[in-house]
């Protein structure tokens, strides 16, 4: 079966140990968490959690079935690959030199990045998009002098 990324969205009771229960379910059953975000919702009693995991579709089903058994997990859904349903943000710091400056600026414009800070020798930009788009941005900036980066993990609706 094809191994790919799956985004699983949970609606959970807003309790201090709920993340530990979820993380423990993944580690205890040998599943893997690639990224995780937890966000408040309109209802203060519940939290929305997005988890990206890799595996075949049978594994994805197994994970969901195990998560559904957690008492504080109210809802489990598999977020399908829709282009605008899933977004992620990354902050990327790029080194600037005389030779690369122009290339970097071109990339920033083409990739629709927002410049957050700019110094003479480096700049930090924000990219928002699907996981794929972020990957593309990283590939593009990589050879130009990528210094550091941080990804938010997926948020999905």
């Amino acid at each position: 079966m094809e191994v790919k990324k799956h985004t699983i969205q949970l609606v959970v009771n807003n309790k201090p140990d709920v993340l530990a229960r979820i993380a423990g379910t993944f580690s205890g059953r040998g599943f893997n968490i690639e990224s995780i975000t937890a966000n408040i919702t309109m209802n203060p009693d519940v939290t929305k959690i997005n988890i990206v995991t890799t595996g075949d579709s049978r594994t994805a089903t197994k994970i969901q079935n195990q998560l559904k058994k957690l008492v504080d997990v109210l809802q489990v859904s598999h977020v399908r690959e829709t282009k605008y349903g899933q977004r992620e943000m990354a902050l990327i710091r790029i080194k600037l030199t005389q030779e690369t400056k122009e290339e970097v600026e071109k990339a920033i414009e083409e990739l629709n990045c927002r410049v957050i800070t700019k110094k003479s020798d480096s700049c930090t930009v924000e990219v928002t998009g699907t996981g794929n788009e972020i990957d593309q941005a990283l590939t593009r900036f990589g050879p130009l002098g990528l210094e550091d980066m941080s990804r938010s993990g997926i948020v999905a609706l």
């Binding site: 049978r58 089903t61 197994k62 008492v71």
Partner: protein, 563 residues
């Protein structure tokens, strides 16, 4: 009127129908023990907290109700963990109340503080820490609800000392409007219809039942169903008693130490209807060759159990009783008839397998054969006792040679394989069923893991009988060393054991010993006639192995039938 947390705990438990607690006191639960003293709440004082958890588990398995235990913080709480995991693996509803240091001290490495909710998170169905006395009554009720609903399991409730001391207005809460998943599944009728179609078409059907049939209280429905469809039934270790072992359609247990005919029937069947079993590796052997020719239908209350190990053709998420009730209704409405010719041929084939390799052992010789002891226990209790087991050869022989016709009468640690389970579980079972003869079939190794409970049975005159199959070895491990490790018996000789007869006597119980085959029957008769606890020490043949046997990783059709 305001009540103390400790009072609220006992009141809420009583309202939930709990009338017995197995426990062991300590500093942070003193307020609760004081309340137990004042209200005369029935409490059985064990001699080790592990035994409290196992006794609650045995109580639950024998009665079909939730078992409850109470221990102190820190070491008291951690001592219950083996009992909790044992219950978790076998889906047994128990609630463990642990004391905790006062809320203000939590996280400070206070004296006897242990993060027991953290420790038991992966091995409880759910756990709670109660931080406000106002939450206590509701939490107690939720804990019991969660333990017994859906696929049952252990729940732990951590009670900081200040919470059991604080006071609040007690409000009787009505039936739980729980936010939790509604555990009652209504089986999909189309899928059940398809099940009947598949049964009609099958030439060689087999039914495999597991603990889910007992937990779902579906044994009667199962009997009705089998009576109508005339399909042979195999039961897993956890399913023992779900279907009468003496019925001619019973195949006994499948798997590693199952019967030859159960394994052959599964290997050759064209339809395997599995109800409340989870395809454990001890049952399936090599997965690719498990029921290779069969369409598999799987009825289970836990969606996570379906397609976990074995991919099935028709999954049905339901509790066992609802599904079987509905199937029986449909059979009735559809005027179901069995394909007589095919069925006769299939049952004849099974009869031949049974004849070719029945469960047996060499009866001759000077030494007592352990299987003989079990056979005689069966005979002299008329098959009507509650049997608990320890783990190892004793457990497998008990499963093979005692035939169970009723659910809730075979209590054994199947999933975890916990040595030391049987004796405290027998205590719980006897407390739940004072009318029954309760026997722990033990090994000389396992019994020493909770032997201190002799004090408990003497203390309360709980008339549990312990039958030690004393082979001077950690027998099951020795058997593997014999077969797989060139007879190098590394650290399995435990012949340096206490004199169990005198040990029983030292505790104030009766001890009896048999060393020759002809002593077995009179000894069992004598033990069964004693109204108090008895330890029977049978010096059995240390060379005896458990057969048939499937090597781990082999297909279940590949059986070593023994010498």
């Amino acid at each position: 009127m305001k009540l103390k947390g400790a009072e609220i705990l006992l009141k809420a438990l009583a309202e939930e129908g709990v009338d017995t607690i197995f426990g062991y006191p300590g500093g942070v639960v003193l307020d609760i023990y004081d309340e137990i003293y004042k209200t005369q709440f029935k409490h059985i004082l064990v001699r080790h907290e592990q035994a409290a958890a196992h006794a609650a588990d045995g109580y639950a398995r024998a009665s079909g109700n939730v078992g409850v235990c109470l221990v102190t913080s820190g070491p008291g709480a951690t001592n219950t963990v083996t009992g909790i995991v044992t219950a978790y693996m076998d889906s047994i509803p128990i609630v463990v109340f642990t004391g905790q240091v006062p809320t203000a001290l939590i996280g400070s490495d206070a004296f006897q503080e242990a993060d027991i909710t953290g420790i038991t998170r992966p091995c409880t169905k759910h756990n709670f820490i109660v931080r406000k006395v106002e939450d206590l009554a509701r939490t107690v009720k939720e804990a019991l609800f969660i333990a017994r609903s859906g696929r049952p399991g252990p729940v732990l409730v951590d009670l900081p000392k200040d919470v059991s001391q604080a006071e609040t207005e007690y409000q009787e809460s009505g039936p739980l409007k729980s936010a939790y998943h509604d555990p009652i599944y209504i089986p999909n009728l189309e899928a059940l219809n398809e099940t009947l179609q598949m049964i009609k078409q099958a030439k060689k059907p087999v039914i495999m039942v597991g603990g889910g049939v007992i937990l779902g209280k579906a044994s009667d429905e199962l009997r009705k169903f089998v009576d109508k469809v005339q399909i042979p039934v195999t039961h897993t270790l956890m399913g023992i008693g779900a279907f009468p072992g003496t019925d001619s359609l019973s195949l006994g247990m499948p798997g590693m130490h199952g019967t030859y005919y159960a394994n052959m029937a599964i290997t050759h069947c064209d339809l395997l209807l599995t109800i409340g079993a989870r395809f454990d590796d001890r049952v399936t052997g090599k997965l690719d060759e498990f029921a290779p020719n069969a369409k598999i239908i799987h009825i289970d209350i836990d969606a996570a159990s379906i397609n976990k190990n074995v991919l099935v053709d028709l999954p049905i998420i339901s509790d066992s009783r609802s599904a079987l009730q509905q199937l029986n209704k449909m059979l009735h409405q559809n005027h179901f008839t069995i394909p007589e010719d095919d069925r006769r041929k299939w049952l004849e084939q099974i009869r031949q397998w049974k004849e070719y390799a029945p469960l047996s052992y060499h009866r001759e010789g000077e030494k007592i054969k352990p299987q003989y002891v079990i056979e005689m226990l069966y005979k002299l209790t008329k098959g009507d006792a509650i049997i608990t087991t320890e783990v190892g050869q004793n457990q497998m022989w008990a499963a093979q040679f005692y035939l169970f016709n009723q659910p809730n009468t075979f209590l054994s640690s199947g999933g975890l394989g916990t040595m030391g389970y049987g004796f405290p579980a027998a205590i719980g079972a006897q407390v739940a069923r004072p009318d029954k003869t309760v026997i722990d079939i033990a090994g000389d190794g396992s019994i020493q893991m909770n032997i201190q409970e002799l004090a408990t049975v003497v203390n309360y005159n709980i008339p549990v009988k312990v039958a030690i199959l004393n082979n001077g070895f950690l027998g099951m491990v020795r058997q593997w060393q014999e077969i797989f490790y060139g007879e190098r018996y590394s650290h399995t000789n435990i012949s340096q054991i206490p004199d169990f007869v005198r040990l029983a006597e030292a505790y104030g119980a009766v001890g009896l010993r048999a060393t020759k085959p002809e002593e077995v029957i009179p000894l069992i008769e004598e033990a069964l006639n004693i109204p108090g606890p008895v330890v029977m020490d049978f010096a059995v043949d240390p060379q005896e192995g458990v057969y048939p046997m499937v090597k781990p990783g082999s297909p279940i059709s590949d059986m070593d039938l023994g010498k």
